[in-house]
Amino acid sequence: MLAQLVDMSLWESVVRALIPVLLAAIGGLICERAGVFQISLEGMMLAGAFAAVAAAHVTGSALAAAAAAAVAGVLLSLVLAFGAVSRGGNAIVLGVAINILAVGLTSFLLPQLFGVRGSFQPEGGVRILRIAIPGLSDLPFIGPVLFNLSILGYAALLLVPATWLFLFRTQLGLRLRGVGERPLAAETLGVSSTVYRYAAVVASGVLAGLAGAQLALGNVGVFTEGISSGRGWIAVVAVMLGRAHPFGVLAACLLFGFTEAFGFRLQGQGYPVQITDALPFVVTLVALVIARKRFRRLLDLTASTV
């Protein structure tokens, strides 16, 4: 039965479902490394999805759509950066408020701008470009799974090692980690924690915005109210579970994507949806208990947020 459940289309599904979450989670991990607790990914993703579809409708260009999504994410991220970094406000409260703001704003603007409710498809069916890499996409198994993705899909996967290199091999990455771990120490060496934190939060805005674009114009081709559907929260969990390490976060996203897609299959076998819905979370909880080595950093970081 397992062989029948774990087929190639399952893996394709895992990778597709993974990409928006991964994009947002990378943004989240950068923030966490910079010492900002980022739980507004959900709202920024939603705003990004809306902006992408709106821009695609107006300009007919996928590039413009992606740019608009990034801008929308950045605008919301600036609210967090200003409140939490410049004004020392509580990042959890700001994050929750931003999520509410995004829901209100997108459902308010949808009828205002496009005269429709609920869902909206951009004119001309604009989509984020999907590229089958010649040669590679024909490889058995991994070809369709890994080499037939949208541009943002490749970007998300490449961002994992890129983020790792950035954090652990570059000057800026070192300083970012320093700021996140001991802001005062960084200040005494002339590294402004404000600048780095702003940069990190804005980066998460870009990535979560793009995650929204991928969701609304990559995975499908439509905006629906609340289309982010909790994926931003999953990204938050992935950051925690992966302990803000790029490969750890990727693994967490994979675990999550896999259990979710596997759950769909189980439903097809007659298991109740309420059980398969809980599956990813239960598996994550179990994974947490098994991989419970050192969450000190997280405890430290979050202890200062309340």
Binding site: R87, G104, Q112, V236, T284, L298, L299, V306
Partner: protein, 352 residues
């Protein structure tokens, strides 16, 4: 605070004006709709879950226990409280008390799961409590769909709680306000005194300030974590039970999950009020009024309720960002709370 409100409403006004509405009329409706007449009654009624959940969060947060699981605690408590009120025979008042106790107990047990995870397995409660919200959704959903569900109902829901087993409304107030409000006021007073004057309040506050310090002083950190979580979960369970026994009289799956919005509103209210019970009461009243007023505004002026929601979010952002304080004062404030702190006086790493 005032500046924050002006900024938030100012932004809201711009949006209303841009979409062709009359901001003054809209806000007028919002205020009269939220804080007068039957709107006031609805506001008071809506305050119950908001303040209740905020109190639950305050208990945890001021002790440095990062409980994000209010939603799940509320759902689990609500379902089991409801089932008790449905199946338990006996005189109404007895059944109600029993149902509330069961709701509180189940909420507490659900909250103890992440607490035990942290104290026994060192898995941060922050993550597990958040994850358990989803598990609670699925679990309640399953239970109310299958074993606890009303046969033949179109939705996944329990049967209605028998009339005798419902939490009554205040007499003479025009109806609609459950006497739970009375208990919320009581809880505010109780916690205000406990936080300021009791050994428990002192010890948990110290735990919130510094875990190693509290441990050093003989505070049983693990036990306190469990106790705090259980109490927070119990309050969450009570709030959930109230929402059914005192308001909707039947646990409807989709409806209850929509009600979990109260958990997040409560979380914000608690943090905005710096976890102080009386401030929570005031902030909770204000937010409840904004929400009820938002619907009134839509009814009267066609400005959509989403806008009210946005204004609420903006108020929070403005307040949290302390827009009322000047830059100078804020800087000083920062210096006061952030003195030349030891970053690493000793290198040994203690257990958390």
């Amino acid at each position: 605070m005032t500046v924050a409100l002006v900024v938030a409403f100012g932004l809201g006004a711009v949006v209303i004006a841009l979409t062709g509405g009359d901001p003054l009329a809209a806000f007028g409706e919002m205020l009269t709709g939220g804080f007068t007449g039957s709107g006031l009654r609805n506001t008071l009624s809506r305050m119950i879950p908001i303040v209740g959940m905020a109190l639950a969060f305050s208990l945890a947060f001021r002790s440095g226990v990062l409980n994000l699981g209010g939603e799940g605690q509320m759902l689990m408590g609500a379902l089991f409280g409801t089932m008790t009120a449905i199946v338990l025979p006996g005189p109404g008042p007895v059944v109600i008390v029993a149902a509330l106790l069961v709701g509180a107990a189940v909420g507490a047990l659900w909250a103890l799961l992440p607490a035990l995870g942290q104290t026994k397995f060192q898995v941060p409660l922050l993550i597990t409590s958040l994850l358990l919200n989803y598990v609670a959704r699925a679990t309640t959903s399953y239970l109310v769909r299958y074993p606890f569900g009303e046969p033949g109902a179109a939705f996944a829901s329990t049967v209605a709680v028998p009339e005798s087993n419902r939490i009554p409304d205040f007499p003479f107030l025009g109806g609609g306000i459950s006497i739970s409000l009375f208990f919320v006021f009581g809880l505010v007073a109780l916690l205000a005194v406990v936080y300021r004057r009791s050994v428990f309040g002192y010890e948990t506050a110290m735990l919130g300030f510094s875990g190693p310090f509290a441990r050093y002083g003989g505070v049983d950190v693990e036990r306190k974590t469990l106790l705090v979580m259980a109490s927070a979960g119990a309050i969450g369970g009570l709030v959930g039970s109230h929402l059914v026994l005192g308001e909707t009289y039947r646990y409807i799956d989709a409806d209850m999950i929509a009600q979990t919005g109260f958990a997040w509103t409560g979380l914000m209210v608690s943090l905005l009020a710096a976890n102080r019970p009386v401030a929570i009461l005031l902030a909770g009243f204000f937010f409840a009024g904004l929400q009820i007023g938002g619907f009134a505004m839509e009814r009267a002026t066609k400005v959509s309720w989403q806008l009210a929601e946005m204004i609420q979010a903006l108020v929070i952002v403005a307040v949290v960002s302390r827009l009322g304080l000047t830059w100078r004062r804020r800087r000083k404030l920062g210096e006061e709370v952030g003195p030349p702190q030891p970053e690493m006086e000793t290198a040994h790493v203690g257990e958390v």
